[in-house]
């Protein structure tokens, strides 16, 4: 068994026939948080969408192993069952479906996939309460329609709430900091940090240093024009803050 949780090797992917990822390779070990930074259009969101299995994104070459398994052969729900989670940059609104009903469907589907019985109503409520507290959501939150009428900050807190409910082994946070004020950013970052553990790992995708002041990455990758042009430690973040992306890579 590989020492890595996630191994991406020479990944190429296209959207509507246009190649966006042009050979991305990176390996993430348990316990690590990797930041992926880069300018707009670099392919950051494409990378997260491809890892989560978005149907309209086509992988044209390369491999992705997750816990030694071929991730690309799995459906989006199978990837979730295997322990992968994507926090969406733009969470989707689903009117008429409450957060409670949505989470019940998600939690129980995952349990079923593992051969576990459904949670009882009491167990489920207890779990909801505990995880809502983590992102400072009040009781009425559970009854709200999924993301409908949510502010930008509430949507992102809801993503981290869902992440806490699902308790994934591997999380991808796609620009979770965009549209957040300082208070919401802190709540989201505290939530993410509380879920860190030696077995788990994450990719944090961001434009800015801001989020990485709260969630300290072990490794930083700079993605530009579909390729990783530089990999380094947290000091890379400082360099980008000073010099921008212009001077980095080819």
């Amino acid at each position: 068994m590989s020492e890595y949780l996630l191994e991406i090797n020479d990944l190429h992917a296209s959207v509507s026939g246009k190649e966006i990822l042009k050979g991305v390779s990176l390996c993430i070990a348990p316990g690590e948080v990797h930041a992926v930074m880069g300018p707009n259009g670099a392919g950051k969101s494409t990378l997260s969408a491809v890892l989560a299995g978005r149907p309209d994104y086509e992988v044209t070459a390369g491999t992705v192993l997750f816990r030694g398994r071929d991730l690309l052969a799995l459906s989006p729900e199978e990837r979730s069952w295997a322990g992968l989670f994507l926090s969406f940059q733009y969470p989707v609104e689903i009117p008429g479906v409450s957060i409670t009903n949505f989470m019940k469907a998600a939690v129980n589907a995952r349990r079923k996939a593992r051969g576990l019985p459904e949670l009882s109503a009491a167990e489920f409520l207890k779990l909801m309460k505990e995880k809502m507290a983590l992102v400072q959501m009040k009781g009425e939150f559970a009854r709200r329609e999924l993301n409908v009428g949510f502010s930008g900050g509430e949507k992102k807190r809801n993503e981290i709430f869902q992440m806490a409910m699902i308790d994934p082994l591997f999380s991808i946070l796609d620009e979770t900091d965009s549209g957040l004020d300082v208070d919401a950013l802190r709540i989201v970052a505290d939530g993410v940090n509380a879920l860190r553990s030696p077995e788990k790992a994450a990719i944090v995708i961001t434009h800015y240093k801001r989020l990485l002041d709260y969630i300290r990455p072990d490794v930083v990758h700079i993605l530009k024009e579909g390729r990783i042009v530089r990999t380094g430690g947290p000091e890379l973040v400082e360099q980008i803050e000073k010099e921008g992306y212009e001077g980095i890579g080819a």
Binding site: A52, G53, R54, P55, D56, S75, P76, E77, R79, S80, W81, F85, L86, F88, P91, V92, I94, P95, G96, V97, N101, F102, A105, A106, A109, R110, A113, Q162, I166
Partner: protein
């Protein structure tokens, strides 16, 4: 305060469509039409609003999934000003079923301050089903608020991917999407009928 609004539910194909209705000043009617799977029907409804403060709240839900033919024609006539009509008809069409809606809103020349809204939205699940929607507005007064909206659509891919990424299997995600789509009209039904609709999805 108005008297409590009479609520009528009509199960198409089983109950005869009531009416024509004549709503006098201050009279209100809340009517819900329901077409469950297995029902083929050609139904016409007429409602006249005859005085200020008359109010029609019409809801409709149709589930057509094999070879059903559901045709619905609704004529709402604002003969006097200051009356309100709201129509919201939503449904799911699958298999080789066909659904069609003809909706006329007529506003008489002196029916000023009329408010009339008509919405018809269908979700098409198969390649061989058909849905048609024909809104018609005949408005002869100039100080009115009238609008209509009609869509024929498919299940949204972004919603589906979002749910599946949370581990919800594709079939269950589709079901949740249908519940989401129908929710504004589903909520008008008594609980037992809501259950029956959900079981049919």
């Amino acid at each position: 305060m108005k008297e409590s609004v009479p609520e009528l539910l009509c199960m198409l194909g089983r109950d005869a469509l009531p009416g024509p209705f004549r709503l006098e000043a201050g009279q209100a009617l809340r009517l819900t039409l329901l077409a469950l799977p297995g029902v083929s029907v050609d139904a016409s409804l007429e409602v006249q609003l005859l005085g200020p403060g008359a109010e029609l709240d019409l809801g409709g839900l149709y589930l057509c999934r094999s070879d059903e033919r559901v045709r619905l024609s609704v004529r709402v006539r604002h003969e006097a000003g200051g009356a309100v009509s709201h129509q919201l008809l939503k449904g799911i069409v699958d298999g080789t079923a066909r659904f069609s809606f003809d909706g006329l809103i007529y506003v008489a020349p002196d029916a000023q301050k009329t408010e009339a809204v008509q919405q018809n939205h269908s979700l098409l699940l198969s390649d061989s089903c058909q849905a048609e929607t024909r809104p018609q507005l005949e408005i002869y007064a100039d100080d009115v608020i009238c609008s209509h909206g009609a869509t024929l659509g498919h299940l949204n891919a972004d919603e589906q991917f979002y749910m599946r990424s949370r581990g919800i299997p594709e079939e269950e995600a589709r079901r949740l999407q249908m519940i989401s789509f129908l929710s504004p009209v589903l909520s008008r039904l008594p609980e037992a009928l809501q259950e029956e609709c959900l079981a049919a999805l």
